[in-house]
């Protein structure tokens, strides 16, 4: 039998899908999170509820949405409401189980920067900003982050805290009284990082063929490793097939090394 090959994006997407439970209500973003959710719904989580910040509940996209407000999210959905309602009645009220987050920088305590590189008033690089992520990071019961493992993306400390991870430590987030448990897993192309008892992201799993050294080289702080580092399940052909033939046939999000 010949070895299965896949891109880093496919690897991250499939590992993200594995984090979802049947029946989860997921606040979905475009790109890999959208693919991960659709993959999970087609496999182990048929009752996954996908909701979008545009105000769509129970979406069943029949094509890959380029934008988070694509009409395919509406056709066949269970419900549509305004944005004030989606953020208040669903997210703030506590009806969202899972939120996906991403950003230009994720730091040692899982804090996310999607706003600026450099000084806020005179930004070196002006990024898109929060969108829904400030509230998703605070109020979704569980948050997951999907991002390629690169040193510039994993600084010791973010330039700007767009969305709260564990701030300077788990106790600080808990003291703030926000309802969500914060970022529980960071899925990268090398493995998985999870917060330890202090809320610091540590390496807990490696993908097949990846090494602790690679992770160290590509993380902006001296990353700790779990007592025993798991290896993630090998990628299955049927998952790749679903992604390539049905979910992203043009490879818009999956071709890239992500």
């Amino acid at each position: 039998m010949e070895a299965i090959t896949y891109t880093s994006s496919e690897l991250m997407c499939i590992n993200a899908a594995r984090l979802l439970r049947d029946g989860d209500v997921v606040f979905v973003g475009v790109g890999l999170p959208n693919l991960a959710c659709n993959l999970a719904r087609r496999t182990h989580a048929p009752n996954l509820q996908m909701i979008y910040e545009a105000g769509v509940i129970g979406a069943r996209p029949s094509r890959l949405p380029l934008s988070i407000g694509d009409p395919t999210l509406v056709s066949g959905a269970a419900s549509v409401c305004g944005m004030y309602d989606i953020f208040s009645l669903y997210l703030q009220r506590g009806n969202v189980d899972v939120g996906f987050l991403g950003g230009a920088q994720i730091d040692r305590f899982g804090n996310i920067n999607a706003t600026v590189i450099g000084d806020y008033g005179k930004p070196k690089v002006r990024l898109p900003g929060s969108g829904g992520s400030q509230e998703i990071a605070a109020w979704a019961n569980r948050c997951y982050i999907i991002t390629p493992h690169q040193k510039r993306r994993f600084p010791e400390k973010v330039d700007f805290t767009t969305s709260a991870g564990f701030l300077h430590g788990r106790t600080e987030r808990e003291a703030s009284g926000v309802r969500g448990k914060g970022p529980l897993v960071v899925v990268t192309n090398l493995g998985l990082m999870e917060p330890d008892e202090n809320g610091e992201l540590i390496l807990t799993a490696l993908h097949p063929g990846c090494t602790v050294e690679q992770v160290r080289e590509n993380t902006g702080w001296s990353v700790k490793t779990a007592a025993s580092i798991r290896q993630t399940e090998p990628i299955q052909q049927n998952d790749l097939q679903l992604l390539r033939e049905e979910l992203d046939p043009q490879g818009i999000y999956l071709k890239g090394g992500g």
């Binding site: 105000g55 407000g69 009409p71 999210l73 056709s75 305004g82 953020f87 690089v125 900003g129 509230e135």
Partner: protein, 300 residues
């Protein structure tokens, strides 16, 4: 009392230099044709508010209409960054005021509800609050814990695209609703652009579908395809190809200005713009009908 007029007339009468403008629509129903008419009429020093500035504000900023931006996410949805807005912000040539989506929408909700502020639960993310004096705190009188607050936003004028409206302005929308209702009630003046002007009997056969009532509407304009390259659910698809092309066009200021010359200054109105897009694009954006199940209100 009919409020029907041309988009040209509506912009001339209700959009003035220095106004705080909110062209509504989250990805869906973005009134591009109105943005183009504002560019053609040469408005200046506008404060442009939108949760997602999208290409419509990238184009208006490129055309020099804007003094300031109020937003919660600046990106080319699904493509990347809004090059014009981004470079103007980085160069310090454009003022801005920033919120999270919920903060932005809460400002509209407060404005629509006639409230002096709206509370939001804490998010533990300190930096935006530290950089925006409009984001404040108040103590919940029941638990004693602090909540975050934003003040109302009252645009001088809101432009809202809808599937259908009657001549008085009763407007119906389906598909993604975004912040349309909140913007309409928060604004001082409302311009409705509609794919179709229908007899009031069509609207009144389904009053629950009416998101915006005539009593807050100033002008009603019949503007088919107003939203291109955004879309109108059930009427035409989103032109993702254009959203991708815009990313290329805006790599150079020259190409950007050339595009404005050809597609905005170079055409007289939305109809000419749509015809200029051509058959092949019209075909590409066509939508196969799919109708909502019937609903019986009963004669009473």
């Amino acid at each position: 009392m009919t409020k029907l007029c041309s988009l040209k007339e509506a912009i001339a009468e209700y959009v003035h230099d220095g106004d705080l403008l909110y062209a509504a629509g989250f990805t869906h129903l973005i009134p591009f044709a109105a943005g183009h008419e504002i560019i053609r009429q040469g408005r200046r020093n506008l404060t442009l508010a939108r949760a997602t500035p999208d290409l419509i504000y990238d184009q208006m900023v490129a055309a020099g209409c804007a003094k300031k931006l109020i937003f919660s996410y600046i990106g080319n949805p699904g493509v990347g960054s809004l090059r014009i807005v981004r470079s103007e912000l980085e160069a310090g040539r454009l003022e801005w005021e920033e919120y999270s989506h919920f903060g932005m929408i809460s400002r509209l909700q407060a404005g629509a509800a006639g409230l002096p502020f709206i509370p939001m639960n804490q998010t533990a993310a300190p930096d935006l609050e530290a950089n925006n004096p409009n984001i404040r705190r108040v103590k919940d009188p029941y638990t004693g814990r602090e909540v975050v607050t934003v003040p109302p936003l009252h645009p001088d004028v809101a432009i809202i695209h809808v599937q259908r409206a009657d001549q008085n302005g009763n407007s119906q929308i389906w598909g993604i609703l975004g912040e349309q209702k909140e913007v309409a009630f928060a604004a001082k003046k409302v311009i409705i652009t509609a794919e179709e002007i229908v007899d009031e009997s069509v609207i009144r056969s389904d009053p629950n579908r009416t998101l915006i009532p005539d009593l807050i509407v100033s002008a009603v304009c019949c503007v088919p395809h107003c939203a291109h390259p955004s879309y109108t659910q059930g009427y035409y698809d989103r032109d993702n190809v254009f959203y991708l092309n815009w990313d290329k066009i805006t790599e150079s200021p020259e190409a950007t200005q050339a595009w404005l010359q050809e597609w905005v200054y170079g055409v007289k109105d939305a109809e000419e713009y749509w015809q200029k897009l051509g058959e092949e694009t019209h075909e590409r954006l066509k939508v196969t009908p799919a109708f909502a199940s019937s609903v019986n209100y009963g004669k009473y």
